[in-house]
Amino acid sequence: MSTPAFRFVSADRRVREDRRFVAGKGCFAADVVLPGTRHVALVTCPHPAARILAIDKRGALAMAGVHYVLDGRELAAATQPLLAGLDTPNVARRPLAVEVARYAGEWVAAVVADSRALAEDAAEMVRVDYEPLPFVLDGETAYATGSPPVHAEHGSNVLLDRTFVWGEVEKDFAQSPHRLALRVTWGRNSTVPIETFGVLASWDPWRELLDVYASVQMPRFPDQVALALRLPGSAVRVHNDVDVGGSYGVKRGIKHAVLVGYLSRRLGFPVRLVEDRLENMRGGDGHGPERNFDLELAFDDAGVIRAMKMRALDNVGAYAGRSPFQLGKPIGAIVGPYRIRSVQYRAIAVTSNKTVQEAVRAFGQSPTNFAIERAIEEVARHRGLDRVEARRRNLIRADEFPYLIPSGTTYDSGDYHAVIDKVLARADYAGLIAERDRLRAQGLLAGIGIAACLEPSGANSTFEPLLNPKNATTTYTESCRLNVDVGGAVTATIHTLSAGQGHETLVGTVIGEVLQIDPDRIRVVRPDSLSSLPSQSPVGSRMAIMLGGAAFHAAQKLKARLLAIAAHDLAIPPEQALYDKGDVFDRGAPQSRRSWSELVTIAHRHFHRLPPGTEPGLAFSHVMQVPTGGRLPDADGRVQMYPCFAFEFHLLLIAIDPDLGKPEIKRYFLGHDCGTVINPKIVRGMTMGGIAHGIGAALYEEFAYSEEGQLLAQSLMDYLLPSSHEVPPVEIIHHETPSPHTVFGQKGSGESGYLGAPAAIASAINDALQPLGIAVNHLPIKIAQLGDMIAAARGEA
């Protein structure tokens, strides 16, 4: 397929957002302070489960400058529970605990004072009497009958337990000569943005309007805040022009926004909550998946996998919003890049007395990819195959696209073998093996890591109807409005917040491409939620596809109008008019033309020259439906999940000091195919950031709990984020297989790198450990654990 020539798409252009950030002129939630703003600090429960017997507010309220202490009972009486993804009405989730607190760190009361420091002082003066209750931390224990239910009204800890069977699984298992089973586990981590969650709410009782400034990344955020506060949607105005200081999924913030929204209405002044790091890590409800995978594979002598059974049990913590859907998204790529013809998938979500789980980059796909990749490596070991060769024997071939997987999703395009060829050539695979063996000869444990996996992109949220029969969502919009003013200047809109993904650059580039004008001339703004078109948020690697698509179609509508106006004014048939960088001319007589400014003047001022029935002005909008979306799942749970599937192939060399257990990544190569790249700087940054995040998830980051139910990582000294020392240089090798479903052939890349880095690092460690006869099936694998494992294997206990 020949690559179309683009003017601005794929060009290595600057990112327009960067100018404000380098000058310190971003506008983050904590930078917004309205006159009279008061501040919230939180009183939190010290027990993993406890009945709240009494709250004594007197000490706090006696302090000068303290305005209010809100408890859960008052808030619950005035608000609705927060929206849950699954149909679990007896698992009510509220901003402040009511009667029972269900995890250590859960918010029990909110103190409002003149300053944050004063609010913190006063929070220490609130006395709460608790009666500790039985609790459960481990997911499998929570699942077992007889475990203490986190929500007594729900009756058990099981929120979801559904088994899907796609294809002749039992028959394929029976007919396969070989089978293996393994358990793979993914520890609880999160994205831990450097900016904690912050929100300011201000209720205007005369206008009956709640203004909300929040660092949020949440689908239907304004709508959910309004529902919880029992307000019409038109009474909640969320400001989309707030810069979000990193999110990668977790900045959901509904409970925070409902809390300060209520307080502002109740107290009559603006109220702000900016989490400190402890509130963020313990009670901010932003932990990620904690998942056990039990896998069984059936395969033949050649290592060709015929069927897979996967049981995934996810410990979602004490309450649930959209987090159980993180078991649903991987259904759209349940076989990874492989030709596995039948699959049984059992998805289990359980509650426990841990911090609440929310969306984390890749929405459950990265843990699933880790599980699939571990299984492939076990097949390779079983059959005595090279690990690249084992993958090659199972990969979908380029000539098989579009490719329907057993769970009902059709992969759009790809050329996995070509990407792997490129990477192996660039990395000199044989040379890399020789380098590994040299390191081994020096006494180090050295291993080569490999991962091949997919990034589903263009989120359509079809897991909602799949996992909740009362939810029939089949669209997941993103929108753009385009206006050309009377002077000919172009302004376009984005209707959501962004957290560093460069969406303003995306919209400018796409519209510039269509209109053939310099993208830097296009102003991009973010109207508030009441002035916005239907929009979700930047989730599921969707914005290049969905916002890019909306901007493209809005610009096409503008272009079509300009052609129609010019053809009418030139008195030529419409098909004879040609668009050229804003001007339109007669293809039969090129000197006969109308310039951009003439066409704009006609549209805005000369109604008598417009084609009959034409709206004056030049205002166009497009509400984008997800490509390939629109259908409900069938009875067997087959569904088209996301429209586009990017591919990544990781290859790295790791060396482990056998005495310390300290791994060092010596070389890292990534083959990446996300279709047409709209902005190379942005895609590279996303990918590198994803790999860094994956290194953290594999080696450093974990929200571990003590047996007493206390979160052990309560600061960035305990929860280790990779620094510049931990992230090696990475050589990225590009390949472009355009998607047939998108306007420029682009696919998503917002989660790239993270999809496969944890699997690849685990693969490298296992290759390094293989001479010792041990294997790692749990992430993260921290230095101390690795050191202990190595020592034990060498008999140095």
Binding site: F21, G24, G689
Partner: protein, 163 residues
């Protein structure tokens, strides 16, 4: 109590509680919000400002302790409205950021590095920014930005103290 601060070349008198951090003072009293709170326990580096040219954690220091030092914040780097310093421009050229939250601190750290070493190696750049956590980028384009700034600075033959 009253504290005299020299911020971005300007003498400022501020009334603060003795327990107010320099970060809160800059943000809340002087409305210099380019310095950001990330952890408030000295790990992430998002609050970094320069004190007499050296990077410090504004969250770990009381405003009263800054009395008498020359403080440089990100707002003091741009040569004029809408203009960028050489380092700021280099960060734009390589896209050495995403969300922009750690960026002001990262750029101030880079300025401090280049002021003392106009030709840092990659390892020295990595070391200099290792106390500033960036969650978005994986650092590659930040390291490249600083290397690019150093290269351009040397090309301009500017005095080392004015990157």
């Amino acid at each position: 109590m009253q504290v005299e601060l020299a911020v971005n070349g300007e003498a400022r008198t501020v009334e603060v509680e003795p327990r107010m951090s320099l970060l809160d003072c800059l943000r809340e009293r002087l409305l210099l919000v380019g310095a950001h709170a990330g952890c408030e326990h000295g790990v992430c580096g998002a609050c970094t400002v320069l004190l007499d040219g050296a990077p410090v954690r504004a969250c770990l220091m009381f405003a009263v302790q800054a009395d008498g030092y020359a403080i440089t914040t990100i707002e003091g780097l741009a040569p004029g409205p809408g203009e960028l310093s050489l380092v700021q421009d280099a960060f734009c050229e390589t896209h050495g950021m995403q969300c922009g939250y750690c960026t002001p601190a990262m750029i101030l750290t880079a300025h401090a590095l280049l002021a003392r070493d106009p030709a840092p190696t990659r390892a020295e750049i990595v070391d200099a920014i290792s106390a500033n956590i960036c969650r978005c980028t994986g650092y590659a384009q930040i390291v490249e930005a600083i290397a690019l700034a150093a290269e351009r600075m040397r090309g301009l033959n500017l005095p080392a103290s004015k990157p």
